[in-house]
């Protein structure tokens, strides 16, 4: 009996000790991970790198998940999307559109991003290059860029509207806050034929935080009072560093669009 009690006590002690060791190791790893955040000479986090969701389109992440899986709410329900917040009038207009109207078919960039990550635009990977004056975001699939001043200058005026908007940034602690306005109304929020038009009143605020050396968290809120009933709070996005340090330059071609529209009709037979 005494032996059993002692054995049990030792076992409990071992478990406790092991758990304690694991806790300490986790805390230590977290501290090391946090301290390992790369920083620029001015002390801000360096967001530079190629970022993705852990895999490419068509692949699987380490957990086996698809990197293109749609966002879910806390209860597993589909998360709200930009079009889900359309006003009745905007929803009525949306019903007159279809996937064939998607500007992305003609190589037009999206206003936001088809996977809820503007760094990706159309695609599932993007690259950030940070300098003392700018954070530069490069998208791969449609070869676009966004130059975000972070040196305190005011937003430019007399800049024509663009499909991706005009961006300005500032630091709030270790968080990069990016504010985008001056959009055209000719791009959509997403690609892939998902009807998601917006107005020229679109306003986007994104918050980027490198939580450790390998992880980038992004929060975003989009408001568009001309078409939405309330701002769209985008589900938090968590990206990881990709195992390569350079995205590709691959052209988007309207030739593809012509193929889609039927260049391969039977009449083309030789």
């Amino acid at each position: 009996m005494t032996r059993s009690i002692l054995t049990g006590a030792v076992a409990i002690g071992l478990v406790w000790s092991t758990a304690g060791t694991a806790r300490l190791a986790a805390q230590s790893a977290k501290a090391a991970s946090s301290s390992a955040i790369p920083r620029t000479a001015d002390g801000h986090p360096d967001l530079s790198g190629v970022w993705w969701r852990g895999a490419d389109v068509g692949g699987r992440t380490a957990s086996g998940a698809s990197p293109t899986a749609p966002a879910r709410g806390p209860g597993g329900e589909p998360a709200p999307t930009f079009p889900s917040l359309y006003s009745p009038a905007a929803a009525a207009k949306a019903k007159t559109l279809s996937d064939k109207d998607d500007p992305a078919l003609g190589c037009t960039n999206t206003a936001f991003g088809t996977l809820n990550v503007s760094l990706f635009d159309v695609g599932a990977v993007g690259q950030i290059v940070q300098t003392p004056k700018f954070v530069i975001m490069l998208t791969e699939t449609y070869n676009s860029f966004q130059i975000i001043p972070i040196d305190g200058r005011p937003r430019r005026d007399a800049v024509p509207p663009s499909n991706r908007g005009d961006a300005i940034g500032h630091w709030e602690g270790d968080t990069l806050v990016v504010d985008k306005t001056n959009f055209t109304d000719t791009s959509w929020i997403y690609a892939e034929g998902r009807v998601s038009y917006h107005s020229d009143a679109l306003h986007m605020v994104e918050r980027y935080r490198r939580v450790d050396a390998n992880t980038l968290e992004i929060d975003a809120t989009l408001e568009d009072p001309k078409v939405l009933t309330k701002p769209w709070v985008v589900p938090k996005q968590t990206l990881v560093l990709a195992p390569f340090d350079q995205i590709m330059e691959l052209a988007c071609s309207n030739e593809t669009q012509s193929l889609v529209e039927g260049a391969s009709k039977q009449a083309s037979a030789k």
């Binding site: 852990g54 895999a55 490419d56 389109v57 068509g58 692949g59 699987r60 992440t61 698809s66 990197p67 293109t68 899986a69 749609p70 279809s98 996937d99 064939k100 998607d102 992305a104 078919l105 190589c107 088809t114 996977l115 159309v122 695609g123 599932a124 990977v125 791969e140 699939t141 449609y142 070869n143 690609a191 892939e192 034929g193 998902r194 990709a242 195992p243 390569f244 995205i247 590709m248 691959l250 052209a251 988007c252 071609s253 030739e255 593809t256 193929l259 889609v260 039927g262 260049a263 391969s264 009709k265 039977q266 083309s268 037979a269 030789k270």
Partner: protein, 135 residues
Amino acid sequence: MKRTFLAVLGAGLVALGTGVPAWAHHSFAAAYDMGNTITVHGVINQVLLRNPHSWFVIDVKDASGKVEQWSFEAGTPSGMIRNGYKPDIIKAGAEVTIKGFRARDASQNRGMLSQLTTADGKTYGMFGPQEGPGK
């Protein structure tokens, strides 16, 4: 049977053993009939590694000797390449068999690629050799 056009209709998604991508630059489900599978054997006319999606264009000869051109849509080129696809690995003139889903517009010889098999038996999926991400 070489270079003979084989159209197998209605074989179903499961028969091909492939998944339908839930994500694409346009709506695959709107453009292609996932219940209408086809198998086409022919010779590569051209490979277009273009965004948003790549295309394999092949010349197919039917039983009477008439050649028709078919186009099959594949994945984003960068994704295909990172999955192990090499840009010059399949060249014009190569003999291939392509399985896929036919366009809803039946007037077009067009499909969504699910599997491409070369004459030496190597297979490629919509996003290349499917060797996994980032390889």
